[in-house]
Symmetry: C3
Subunit: 155 residues, 3 copies
């Protein structure tokens, strides 16, 4: 087990682990918010999900889209499109040996930006709040990718 423990003992890797877990948990919470709105707004997509409301025509009316549900789903997809690259590139970045302070700056800004993005999407806040928070997170991932490619480049 020694080798593994040594990896998690590295300060940069520990920081990466913490922030990656936080943003992945944040992303997973979107599923629960979607389920919450589906149930409170009674807006489902699978016929078998509405059967507890009665059989036949009576339950079919709940097979519909709801603006709040669709909004959460768009936020969830946006998380997949942005948080997943962060987790992947962030791992490579953490292994490329950056300064701890620089690494923490990247991880903290990204995590803050994505949490703000979720609130901006769900409340919703007027633009350009959501757009800017998206751009901040996106830029952080690009900055890490640049650092990774500079360190590891081997085509």
């Amino acid at each position: 087990m020694a080798k593994l423990t040594q990896l998690i003992d590295n300060e940069v890797f520990r920081a990466y682990t913490t922030y990656a877990a936080i943003v992945l948990i944040k992303m997973m919470l979107m599923s629960v918010i979607t389920a919450y709105f589906r149930i409170t707004r009674k807006a489902f997509v699978n016929p078998e999900d509405t059967e507890s409301f009665g059989k036949g025509e009576n339950s079919k009316k709940y097979l519909r889209t709801d603006p709040s549900v669709e909004r959460v789903r768009r936020g969830h997809l946006n998380d997949l499109e942005n948080i997943v690259p962060f987790v992947g590139i962030g791992l490579l970045y953490a292994l490329s040996g950056p300064e701890l302070s620089t690494a923490l700056l990247h991880f903290r800004i990204f995590t803050g930006a994505r949490i703000f993005h979720t609130f901006a999407y769900l409340i919703p806040l007027p633009q350009p709040g959501r757009g800017l928070s998206w751009a901040v997170g996106y830029s952080v991932t690009f900055s890490m990718a640049y650092q990774v490619l500079k360190t590891a480049w081997r085509l």
Copy 2:
């Protein structure tokens, strides 16, 4: 190569590798099932995909949605939303030095739950089969995330 070999020689990491590969392959199979239903139901979304059925109006009728295709696509998206966090958090979890038996328990339950979830979605089984299997997989990932944050916490 020594360092890499030592990582894969770790029992927990080997178990993680095996189960992560299995659920990622399972997720990728959804693409093939989608393609199967698109072709057998003749339900496509890109005009260039229907050109083998003839030019113009004759092929345009195949640009449509089909309930079976949409069902598989929802299952695929649900996999992305759940299997991807498992693979990311599971990696950090495997590196955090858990007991082999505890780790195996997590990996096996998650993998079983997601395979059941796919069958529950595609057959489809009556609820709450699909919902429960989703919740089991979700809980396993959360349990690993908790363990990861407890071990690595470094904000």
Copy 3:
């Protein structure tokens, strides 16, 4: 920091790092292309995104779908479905100790196939161009998954 530096010094891991970063950046560029088409085609999905075009009815007409926007979004989702498994399985594959030349062959073919796939989707090229490039990338990931399971199998 020693352990981490040794990982990135491994030739196979450096090659994986380079190609994984490239395909993740390629995937992230789909967001920018989507935004470009949303703005030039004036096709938005969130009411708050159209408010700069004026209040009320005047801006509501821009809440619509556009074929070009939808096409990029499908390409983006296809990337999520294919590049994310490549990054996950590729990491495990790189850690399983393959020959450098074999690993490079896998990474290069996958990266080339996905870049071609994006052009085939966006231009669009006539089929089977897009279908074949999808199948090539898919096969590469399966080949790596097979190698991973052969090396690490531990149920």
